[in-house]
Symmetry: C2
Subunit: 86 residues, 2 copies
């Protein structure tokens, strides 16, 4: 099962990479670029063993949430969104 995890910076947290990208684009002549924000996405392949598919989806979502809490996201500055791609 393929799961997409989007890690965004929380509202109000500085995004230096986005800000610098905006500056660089402006310097390159793209003067109508007003803001740039960055999002990190992980696409995770999870092996699912037998069982019913609906139950599996629920289990995988729960497990990926654990992954976010333990490794992928920093709750102080990040918010995350989990999408099951199928």
């Amino acid at each position: 099962m393929e799961v997409e995890v989007k890690i965004r910076l929380k509202h109000g947290v500085a995004d230096p990479e986005g800000e610098n990208t905006k500056k660089a684009l402006n310097l390159l002549g793209f003067s109508n670029v007003v803001a740039v924000r960055t999002i990190k996405t992980f696409v995770i392949d999870v092996k699912v063993e037998g069982g019913d598919r609906d139950g599996a989806e629920e289990r995988v979502r729960h497990e990926v949430e654990e992954m976010c809490k333990k490794l992928l996201a920093n709750p102080v500055i990040h918010e995350y969104e989990i999408n099951i791609l199928g």
Copy 2:
């Protein structure tokens, strides 16, 4: 106008960040994680001056493609996808 640019590694290009994330997840006990790939997303706010909306969308898409070629993506290893969010 808000535009999303997804920068993916081309097929066959090594993704060390994804591989290390997979290893770390396995070590944390998530043994059913088979693979992890990373995608970088830029959300770009582009100022659009007057004119018709359809034409503007086409113009902005073209311009963001130029941004990818000039700064955001490396054509040797990356492929990009542009979505107008509205």
